[in-house]
């Protein structure tokens, strides 16, 4: 089936993008990444711990032949910081892709749209392929598209909340408002949440805690893989219309 995720000419067979945070160990993470079937994995940029190197290196557990590493700017609260982290991520990973996060509030981790737009504008000019994490707001998404974002990544619910897509209608409106890929980022708690997102017609789903926070992350990764595929297939298949009353499936003709 040729139904790949396209981001600025780059083709990915999987529509699931996964984070690499919050795992008990690198080894469990490695197994979860494998089970998820994802081809893009997000990573954060942080200082090297120069006094304790015992923890090993994340990249030793990510086969870069198989996975595209997508550096993020998680933890940044200003456009300036986000731009700085994006540049460092590009230098460390030698890739122009960046998952741009500019957070506006510690408690909700909601994005600061104004700063997000500003950082997107700057990074696009520097040749970055910018994937901004944004509110489920079609006006902001359109503005992000206009300043050159390669995709938009509206939240389904707050980061790490596991509440699922809280406002499917907003996601539908975003899908109608922009022509770049729409990837639901954040809020997916279990497999059905991922399926619901994909059934709306979004291009992909990004998650971290939904997998890493499960009791058995490796099994949940597999469940998410199937859920994303299932939701995508259901979207492409086109669901039957909803009706208020029953419609018999068996013919009445020939009854005694």
């Amino acid at each position: 089936m040729f139904d790949n995720l396209l981001i600025v000419g780059r083709e990915f067979r999987s529509r699931l993008i996964v984070g690499t945070g919050k795992y008990e160990s690198f080894e469990i993470m490695r197994q979860a990444l494998e089970a998820s079937g994802a081809e893009i994995v997000t990573v954060a940029v942080r200082r090297v711990n120069l006094t304790d190197k015992s923890k090993g290196s994340l990249l030793d557990y990510i086969d870069q032949e198989k996975f595209t590493v997508l550096p993020n700017t998680a933890g940044c609260y200003t456009a300036k910081d986000a731009i700085r982290y994006a540049r460092l991520g590009r230098e460390a990973g030698l890739s122009d892709l960046v998952k741009l996060e500019v957070i506006g509030d510690k408690r909700t981790l909601f994005p600061d749209n104004e700063a997000l737009l500003e950082a997107t504008r700057v990074l696009v000019k520097e040749g970055f392929i910018v994937l901004p994490y944004t509110n489920d707001d079609s006006v902001v998404c359109k503005k992000l598209e206009d300043v050159g974002a390669a995709a938009v990544m509206p939240l389904g619910a707050p980061i790490g909340s596991g509440l699922g897509v809280q406002n499917p209608n907003n996601i539908r409106i975003i899908l109608e408002s922009v022509s770049i890929p729409v990837i639901v980022d954040a809020g997916v708690g279990t497999a059905s949440d991922a399926t619901i997102a994909m059934e709306l017609g979004v291009d992909g789903v990004l998650m971290n805690t939904g997998i890493a926070g499960a009791k058995d992350p490796v099994s949940m990764a597999k469940a998410m893989k199937l859920a994303v595929e299932s939701g995508r297939l259901a979207f492409l298949a086109g669901r039957m219309p909803k009706k208020l009353y029953a419609t018999a499936s068996s013919p009445l003709e020939g009854m005694l």
């Binding site: 984070g19 945070g21 940029v45 942080r46 190197k53 550096p71 933890g75 460390a92």
Partner: protein
Amino acid sequence: MVDTHATREAREIEIIVNGKKTKIPTTWTIDNLIRDLELRRKQVAVEVNEQIISREQWSKQPLGSGDRIEIVHFVGGGKEDKCLIIC
């Protein structure tokens, strides 16, 4: 020359690496520093005074007294704990 405390002082400078004061020989480049710290070249990015220095420049970039060096790499993300430490 006798390696007295005074002469050693003269051949050393103090820089700040990831927030920590560090003494290095005056002749050192970023390349020397990365080797000394036993870091994997392909996995880190380096900033000197908030300017990114690309790997090709590491051996050409001399370090000066008071330089602020940041060495970063990829970690599992995006964790939201005590992460934001570069400032």
